[in-house]
Symmetry: C2
Subunit: 252 residues, 2 copies
């Protein structure tokens, strides 16, 4: 079911013997945490491991950081998942991200020295702080690390732009299809099933993320289920036809 065969990545498995970094490797955090440490010299890896400091344990609903709070560190999710939300001045709230194991969040705080959004745990979650000043300092000693940091900041921009495309020009069914395919891929990268998973967000939150109302989310789920595309039971989802989903996601 859970194909862990690919983990830990052979090139890295031996180089770090202890510390949180190893854990990230073992748990197949294919995304940002691996991106950050990709290709690093053994020495830098060890130091990076040391930078990963205090890890917070969060209960469902706890906030990791608030919008406007002084920025000091990035956070790597070690377990669980988070949403990030931005707030309009009028109080309206929008989910801007759904983050899982291995993701690094808080990147938007670097520019302004304050967190631009709020991060809230969607389930019991542990997150490691990566004090940015120390990361920056370490990056001065490692060309690769420096490059990796640029890269994952940049990738975030790319992802946000894809999201803008979704929000600006897709309709309800396409949006949900894209969302589900994105989750599918990310779960797979982490070694979980790509067709069977549990949503950690409410319909309301999914709707906010995708720019639609909760009722619409619910209706689209039902419609997808009716035509045999998937099966939903509250928050557990089974995808039956990834290819059809892809068609829906990319149509018009």
């Amino acid at each position: 079911m859970v194909s862990l065969a690919l983990y830990p990545p052979p090139a890295l498995a031996g180089s770090v013997t202890a510390g949180p970094l190893r854990e990230f490797m073992l748990h197949g955090s294919d995304r940002t945490m691996r991106e950050l440490s990709a290709g690093l010299e053994a020495d830098t890896l060890r130091q990076l491991d040391a930078v990963i400091s205090t890890s917070s344990r969060l209960k469902k609903g706890d906030t990791l950081y608030q919008a406007g709070a002084p920025f000091t560190a990035l956070y790597a999710i070690r377990q669980g998942s988070c949403k990030t939300t931005v707030l309009g001045e009028d109080g309206r709230e929008q989910v801007t991200g759904y983050h899982m194991v291995g993701d690094i969040i808080g990147l938007d705080g670097i520019g302004t020295e304050r967190h631009g959004c709020e991060a809230v745990a969607l389930e019991d979650t542990t997150a490691c702080a990566l004090p940015f000043a120390r990361l920056e300092k370490l990056a001065r000693t490692s060309v690769t690390l420096q490059h990796n940091i640029y890269q994952f900041l940049s990738r975030d921009i790319g992802r946000d732009q894809d999201m803008m495309l979704l929000l600006g020009s897709m309709q309800a069914e396409e949006r949900l299809a894209v969302f589900l395919l994105n989750l599918s891929e990310r779960y797979q990268q982490r070694g979980y099933s790509s067709t069977e998973f549990v949503l950690r967000m409410t319909r309301q939150e999914i709707g906010s993320y995708l720019g639609m109302k909760l009722e619409t989310v619910s209706r689209v789920f039902s419609r997808f289920q009716e035509v045999g595309l998937l099966q939903v039971q509250g928050r557990s989802v089974k995808l039956f036809a990834l290819s059809t989903l892809k068609q829906i996601a990319g149509r018009r």
Copy 2:
């Protein structure tokens, strides 16, 4: 009319005597180009100036780089303006950015080594290439430059998130109000009038940027004009009531 009183910024004016960088200072590029060079040592500034290499002259409609093209450099707009667009696999196109003098674009290419979007000149435009490898190398010798690069990458993320908020939860009037206020602010930062400017995009492009159809853009403009908020004449806009516009932008 054009208040150039603030330019060049006193602290920087004397430190670079020639080269493109000085030009950016003089023309009040308050945004990214200044951000990039903020607080740099005289020596680094000189070297940065040297990194700014070939400048391309683009005619209206020319593309500076295409989506998918290998990424080698960032581009600083020295004159004129550009739009950036992403393309869905189905061919649908969405404007993701509107960039003017001083803006640095192409940031989303760093992560994937390929440009994620396409940049097209909206008028006759000149842009300077900043070969990223050289920039990166220079950043190794200057803590401040390194920090500045992180910062403006990060700010871009913040801006994209604001855009997601707009696309995900605002309606037509709010969107256009936000758009106009954003332009107003940016023109002001550059020393131009904050209430009177010429749009360099068609209704179609504005619509694409804001996630609405060109007819809707046109109608909202007309409505705003009817109530005396502004005056539109094709692409020239005069704003009469910034405060009301702000109200509209932040309501619900």
